[in-house]
């Protein structure tokens, strides 16, 4: 049996710097992902 019925945890309090860092990382990875998808589509035959 597993223990799925645990009560929810309170949200973690992140500093403004940590929040900004996470958002910046996600935006950067989003841009990189778009670049990779562009390269993939560009490399398709035809």
């Amino acid at each position: 049996m597993n223990n799925r019925d645990l009560p929810p945890l309170p949200p973690m309090v992140l500093s403004a710097r940590a929040q900004t860092g996470l958002i910046a990382l996600r935006v950067f990875l989003g841009v990189i992902t778009v670049m990779a998808i562009f390269t993939f589509l560009h490399g398709l035959p035809g």
């Binding site: 223990n3 929810p8 945890l9 990779a36 993939f40």
Partner: protein, 441 residues
């Protein structure tokens, strides 16, 4: 003089206490089974999937023995570090990865993480069906037959409503990952050359930066991926692991890393004859691939084993990656059951996602004109690019004293975790930026 009677006494004990000896033997066997059957081994061998084995084989066929063999070993060491954190988080908190992100970081980050996962999982699952199709194609099975087998397998995993049953099904399939060791045997590698390449990381590949980067990133994505974090943490919870099971969980994860490294390197070595015989792999890209290319060099048996290995690699990954999607979706939708211990009637979203994503992947593979090989080669790249975000959350959560208490990361685990996140991010970005600049008119 004294030793004689003691030995005789001991021997006497051995003959008269057979039931005790048998019981001790059975206990050892049970411990070994516990170490070998668990989320750690399933995550590692599940990640030795179709695109991963194709990625290792492509590295071997393109450059032969040298840099990539020790590099692959290094990626498995990195996989152990991150998977141990995921296992520890699950065992200590009793919560899955998606569930923890939702509760500790809020809905926005939760949905972004689950969105990343479902996207990479769908693309990876497509490549698993492609691997099964390629492997079965070698034995003359039509594409629709291969797709049907893949979907039935995932549905069979949902049937029975028992986590332990699902785990045993995966473990039974995972054993056949060893077929790649057999193929490597048929390739007759020189032991001295293998040892030399591991010790010296040479010869370095003589390749264009884009090709080199693609294989580096693809081999990272073949070993360290977001779905493994979601899967191992959630499966550890589903198995009922607690902080008391951490030692066994670490052994299970280490066993998985070692076994997966052996079979991954075997797939690499198996394809090296294609490099030494200067075989142009481009002519095999749309057919039965490596197995067909290897047939004239290592014989029908070796080539058949490679095809069987591909089917197994795709099959176990179909089970584990569909499950990781089901865990993620089930964890983030409140009130939805999220366990293989629950029946499809009690957890329709969980089992529906598990089977539904497999059906979707199968349908894409059957689309006429779908760029299957291009998707297969790019699946690992996408996983590598999206991995740093998952690693950052993993590091934050495994240092979270409020939920982890005394089980937070040690100094060295943090150093290694940060180094892995930075290197994965650098490799993924370098590949994406380089490819983008080359693709620009």
């Amino acid at each position: 003089m004294l030793q004689q009677p003691i030995t005789a006494f001991a021997e006497g004990n051995l003959t008269t206490d057979r039931p005790l000896q048998r019981r001790a033997g059975l206990r050892r066997l049970a411990i070994l089974a516990e170490i070998l059957v668990g989320p750690g081994v399933l995550a590692m061998l599940g990640e030795n999937d179709g695109p991963s084995m194709l990625s290792y084989a492509t590295s071997g066929a393109s450059f032969g023995l040298g840099f990539f063999l020790p590099f692959i070993l290094l990626t498995f060491a990195a996989a152990y570090v991150v998977q141990e954190m995921a296992m520890r988080l699950g065992a200590v908190t009793g919560r899955g990865y998606g569930e923890l992100i939702f509760q500790r970081f809020g809905k926005l980050w939760g949905w972004i993480s689950v969105g990343d996962l479902v996207l990479t999982n769908l693309i990876t699952l497509i490549t698993e069906v492609i691997a099964i199709r390629i492997g079965m194609g070698f034995f003359g099975v039509p594409a629709w037959g291969a797709v049907l087998c893949a979907v039935i397998l995932v549905a069979a995993g949902s049937w029975g409503s028992r986590y332990s049953r699902w785990e045993r099904l995966c473990a039974g399939l995972a054993i056949f990952n060893a077929t790649f060791v057999g193929v490597a045997w048929f390739a007759h590698p020189d032991a001295a050359d293998v040892a030399s390449s591991i010790a010296t990381w040479s010869p370095l590949p003589d390749a264009a930066p884009s090709m080199f980067l693609m294989l580096v990133v693809s081999n990272i994505g073949a070993t360290v991926t977001p779905w493994m974090l979601f899967f191992q943490q959630s499966a550890s919870v589903d198995k009922g692991m607690t902080a008391r099971d951490l030692r066994r969980g670490r052994q299970n994860t280490a066993a998985g890393a070692v076994l997966a490294a052996i079979t991954g390197c075997a797939a690499f070595i198996a394809a090296t004859p294609l490099f030494t015989h200067h075989v142009d792999m481009s002519q095999y890209l749309d057919g039965t691939g490596f197995a067909e290319a290897l047939r004239p060099i290592i014989g029908v048996s070796g080539a058949g084993l490679f095809a069987l290995g591909l089917i197994e690699a795709g099959a176990i990954a179909m089970l584990t990656i569909s499950a990781s999607s089901a865990y993620a979706v089930g964890e983030v939708v409140q009130g939805a059951g999220c366990s293989f211990d629950l029946s499809p009637k009690n957890a329709p979203l969980f089992h529906g996602t598990n089977i539904g994503i497999a059906i979707l992947a199968g349908a894409v593979v059957l689309l006429p004109g779908a760029p299957l090989m291009a998707i297969a080669l790019n699946a690992n790249l996408l996983a590598t690019i999206l991995m740093p975000a998952a690693l950052v959350f993993l590091l934050i959560m495994s240092n979270d004293k409020m939920v982890m208490g005394a089980y937070v990361n040690g100094k060295w685990t943090n150093r290694l975790g940060i180094a892995i996140a930075v290197l994965v991010a650098l490799a993924g970005s370098a590949y994406a930026i380089n490819g983008f600049l080359e693709a620009l008119p």
